[in-house]
Structures are given as structure tokens and as C-alpha cells.
Amino acid sequence: MSCDYYIHMRRAIQLKDIVPAATNTVNTQFILLEKGSIAQDGKEMTCLALVADATASVHFQMWGSECKTFEPGNIIHLADGIFSYHKNNLVLRAGKRGKAEKVGEFTMLFVETPNMSEIRGARDPNNPKKFVQEATVSPHSKIFTPSR
């Protein structure tokens, strides 16, 4: 097993623990559940996806070649990603410094609720670096309605 894998997994956090921040420090693993339609954002292709791990789901913003590469069922490692607001949506993405890689498919458990993109928070007044969850806008994604 390569060194990179171990380093990544030691730093990995679960989706339920991600908080919005302007830093690219999110290392995590998830399975891609559903892809939205591919759109154009200036010169780049973008595509929003519903991803999840065993603790929570979240919206994952894909850019450029990611849009065509990742498919539902793919298990993805995200290194140095960002979880922040982008055009009014709270999304997880690789960003300029991060990297998303497919490491497998199918064999990962997931839950669809809570959805971390549908939780609104505010900065902790005593500690501006900390976010506090204020309210759940919706237990599930409002963009990818749960399949029956």
C-alpha cells in the first residue's frame, strides 16, 4: 500500500464533521450517489453531485474533467478540498489546491440524511474561527430528492 493512502486516511474526516471554512483542509472519502446536469460556468464545465458517506451526505461541486469522469457508484478520495459557499450554495469541492480521485466503486455504505449542504450555521461569537450549526434547512438534499 502506498504512503499517500495512509497519510490521507489518517487525516480523513467524516462528512458529518465538515464545517464551512475558507481553507482547503478537507480530506475525506465518499461515494457518489447522483449527478446533476452538466452546465457551463464561464470557460469551465460544472456539475453538482450528491455524495455521501456512512455519516452524512453533501453536495459536491465538480469542475472541468471531473464532470465527465465521475459516475454514480464511484468511491472518491478528496484531498485538500474546500467546504464553503459558492453562488449561495454550501458545497464541497476540490478547489484549486485539492484533488479528487476515484479509488473504487460500489462497496461503501452511505446515509442520505443529514445533508451537510442543507444546514445553516453561524460563526461562534466567542471563537470566530468556529462555526455553530443553527438550523437544518432540510434533512435531505432539496436538489436531489430522495429516491423511493
Partner: protein
């Protein structure tokens, strides 16, 4: 590990750790792998790295052809323990897939086997496994119209299977009762029609003392490793994951992905009967999993049956589901093989009673028509299956079926007729408790 992927970096895909270590070894030693070669003998710890480097050098060449050449050379030098290599190769030949690459693999593996009969007869597992695989593939290939290449493949497949059956029937018998099932799918091919006739009316012509009647095959339970042959390793790991970890209610997405990956092209339905055999006979969940919230085998089979779009494949899938019922013998058979069919029928009432109806109808059709010369034997086995399932508490009673008005009275009456032995037993048992009658 896929040889074609070596040396090629795929964007957004993590490097496989095995590939990475082979490549590193190659890059480190590549100067030593071309002339002038060093005259010193490496130390044993260096062998592993040298082997890795050589393996990378071979495998990085295009592509699977090289791998097949290596395998045929291994036979040539009588290398040990290479049967697993051939088994895993054959598992990579996808059922119902008429793409050029898949047909090419079919041909190439068959060529190696056909050119090495002396070796093959010393490897009963490879011979019987290859017979199983190519009989199944023939059933698919014969339905496809004739490109010239395919005609050549079909001819090779027929020659191989006929030779295995006519000249090495003792080894072919290792397959057991499922040999009858898969042979019946090809009896419209003249060579197999003749073999079928001889199996029925001239069993002695196969020159195997233990084989005097087709029923000798019925009483041989098919070893479970045969059912892995038509399931690729990836399909196997996904099915096992589904049946081991995924909870009731969460299966829908996994099922969609499974279909998208394995069952989306025309002809892929052919694999559904193989998947059903795998689920019934190979994947036996522990009691802990059975009593947990994990999705049950019967539910996955119900979904697979519903995925069949054509009657032919649906009928084959139902036969695969009930096959062990027809020949069940408590002394040699496993109750786990017959459990899914019963649970599917009972649990489909009342919400999906059409499934129960359809399955009962099919079961009785089988008992009456599968082998008219052995009708009573088949009925006895089905009765024994139902009795055992009730005795062991897999279901507590068949009353939900027998008293269900949505199932036709004729079917319900027929089902009841398989129960008298049990009722009698229960009645006797009650008497025993009360008065210790010596039965």
C-alpha cells in the same frame, strides 16, 4: 489488476498500489533488464524485486495477448498450480457479451485448452470448469447470427465440449446435476441432441461404471465453485457486499448501479440465471446477518426476476431458483440452497401475490414436465424440500399461501397435496407427546 492500465495514467483515478510497486521495481532495475546482463547472481531478497520488474516488463506490453502467451508457456513447462490462473481467466469472459474483445478472449482461452488436452486431463477442475463455461457460452453464442469469426468460435466450442463429454465423461460428471440444466440449453445443436439421446437411452456409451442412468447425475449436488465461473470477481464482490452490509430500504441505488454496470446490454440477461445460482448456492449468510437488518437473498432474487425482459431468460432464472428443489436430498443438499425460493413465495403475499402465483405455477410445471420419466422422484424431492423448510422453521406454516384468495384454487390445492406427509408427521408428533405411541 488490468494489464492494459499499466503505464497509462488515467486522470482522476488513483494508482493501484500493486501496479505502483511493480512500476517502481521496473524503474529501479530497468538498466539491468537489457544487455549487457550482469554476471553476478542476485541474492534471494533481490529476487522479489527482480520478479516484480520482469512482471512489469511483460505485462506493460500490449496486452492480454502477452498474458495468455505466458499462461500457455507455463503449461508447456509444466508449472505447478496454474489451474487458478485459468479459472480466473475464464471468469473474465462475460456472459451474453458479443463485443469483439470478449469473443477474442473466449477464442484465445479455448485455443490454449484445446491445444493442451494431455495437460487438461490431468487437471479435472480446469476440464470440468471449462466444460461448464463453454456450454454456457455456446447457449449464448448460438443465438447470435453468423459473422464468420463467430462461426469459427462456435465450431471450436462444440468440438471442445463434445470431446469432454464423449471421451472424458467421468471428469465431466464432476459438474453434477447442473450439467443436465446447462446441457438442455444446447440440445437443439445436433451434436448435443445426440449426446442428450445417449444420456437418456444409452448411458453405457459414456463408459463410466457409476453412470447407468441420468438420475445418477441428478443425485450429484453441483459443487459451489462451479457457480463462481460465470460471475466475474467484480460482480461477486458487489453481490456479496449487497447481501452482507446493505440494509433493507437502502438497496435501490446499489441495484441501479449494478444493472448499469453488469446488466445493461442486450443479451446480458443471460447472466441472471447464473447470478441466481450464485446467490442460492454459494452465498450463504450467517445467522447473525439473516436476523439483522441486512437485505435478504430472496428480495434480491425477486428484483433480479423482475429485471428479466424476455420470457426465455425469466424461465431460466426461475429454473435456477428451483433447481435444487427438484432433487433435494437432506443427506447431501443444503437447506440454504432452497431457502430463498420459499421465502420469496411466502413474503410476496399479499403485496406482490402475482410473484407467488407465477412461482407456484412454474414449480408445478417443472415437477410435471422437467423429466416425465422421473416425475414421482421430482415430486418427492419438492415435498421433502417443503417439509424440511417447515420443520426447521424457515417458514412456520404455508397457511398464508393456502388461504390466500388471490392465488387460484387449483394452485392452492396442488400445494396442499405436497403437505400431507408433514401434516401426518405433525399429527403423529402430537400423539407421541400425549400417549408415547411407538410409531
Amino acid at each position: 489488476m488490468c494489464p492494459e492500465r499499466l503505464l497509462r495514467t488515467v486522470p482522476h483515478e488513483a494508482e493501484n498500489p500493486i501496479e505502483k510497486s511493480l512500476k517502481e521495481a521496473f524503474l529501479l532495475l530497468q538498466d539491468q533488464l537489457k544487455p549487457p546482463f550482469p554476471l553476478t547472481i542476485p541474492f534471494p531478497p533481490e529476487y522479489s524485486q527482480l520478479n516484480h520488474a520482469i512482471a512489469f516488463g511483460i505485462l506493460a506490453q500490449p496486452h492480454l495477448a502477452k498474458l495468455l502467451w505466458v499462461y500457455s508457456m507455463l503449461i508447456h513447462v509444466s508449472a505447478e498450480k496454474i489451474e487458478t490462473l485459468f479459472i480466473s481467466l475464464m471468469r473474465q469472459i462475460t456472459g451474453g457479451d458479443f463485443s469483439e474483445s470478449n469473443l477474442w478472449l473466449s477464442v484465445e482461452v479455448l485455443k490454449i485448452l484445446s491445444n493442451n488436452w494431455d495437460w487438461l486431463v490431468e487437471e479435472p477442475i480446469v476440464l470440468s470448469s471449462a466444460l461448464y463455461v463453454y456450454l454456457r457460452l455456446l447457449a449464448d453464442h448460438f443465438r447470435l447470427g453468423g459473422s464468420f469469426k463467430l462461426e469459427e468460435l462456435k465450431r471450436m466450442e462444440i468440438d471442445f465440449c463434445v470431446k469432454a463429454l464423449r471421451e472424458h465423461f467421468q471428469l465431466s460428471m464432476h459438474i453434477g446435476r447442473d450439467l443436465v440444466r446447462i446441457l438442455q440449453d444446447v440440445t437443439y445443436i445436433p451434436e448435443f441432441k445426440d449426446i442428450w439421446k445417449d444420456l437418456l437411452f444409452d448411458p453405457k456409451s459414456f463408459q463410466v461404471s457409476e453412470f447407468s442412468s441420468l438420475s445418477n447425475l441428478y443425485w450429484r449436488r453441483t459443487p459451489s465453485h462451479f457457480f463462481l465461473l460465470r460471475i466475474s470477481p467484480q460482480m461477486e464482490s458487489q453481490l456479496r457486499f449487497l447481501l452482507t452490509f446493505v440494509k433493507w430500504g437502502s438497496q435501490k441505488r446499489y441495484q441501479t448501479w449494478f444493472v448499469k454496470k453488469h446488466l445493461y446490454w442486450p443479451g446480458s440477461e443471460s447472466m441472471i440465471s447464473d447470478i441466481v445460482r450464485f446467490i442460492c448456492c454459494v452465498h450463504h449468510p450467517s445467522n447473525e446477518i439473516i436476523h439483522s437488518n441486512v437485505i435478504s437473498r430472496w428480495a434480491v432474487i425477486g428484483w433480479l426476476l423482475k429485471s428479466c425482459r424476455r420470457n426465455y431468460y425469466e424461465a431460466n432464472a426461475k429454473l435456477a431458483l428451483f433447481y435444487d428443489w427438484l432433487f433435494f436430498d437432506e443427506k447431501i443438499d443444503n437447506i440454504m440452497n432452497i431457502e430463498p425460493a420459499m421465502l420469496l413465495m411466502v413474503n410476496s403475499v399479499p403485496q406482490y401475490v402475482d410473484i407467488t402465483h407465477m412461482l407456484l405455477e412454474f414449480l408445478f410445471l417443472l415437477v410435471d414436465n422437467y423429466d416425465v420419466h422421473h416425475r414421482e422422484m421430482l415430486a418427492g424431492s419438492v415435498s421433502a424440500s417443503i417439509n424440511l423448510l417447515l420443520r426447521k422453521g424457515v417458514v412456520h406454516s404455508l397457511d398464508p399461501l393456502i388461504s390466500c384468495n388471490s392465488i387460484s384454487p387449483a394452485l392452492r390445492e396442488r400445494l396442499n397435496s405436497f403437505l400431507p406427509a408433514l401434516h401426518l408427521c405433525c399429527h403423529k408428533k402430537v400423539n407421541e407427546d400425549e400417549t408415547s405411541i411407538d410409531i
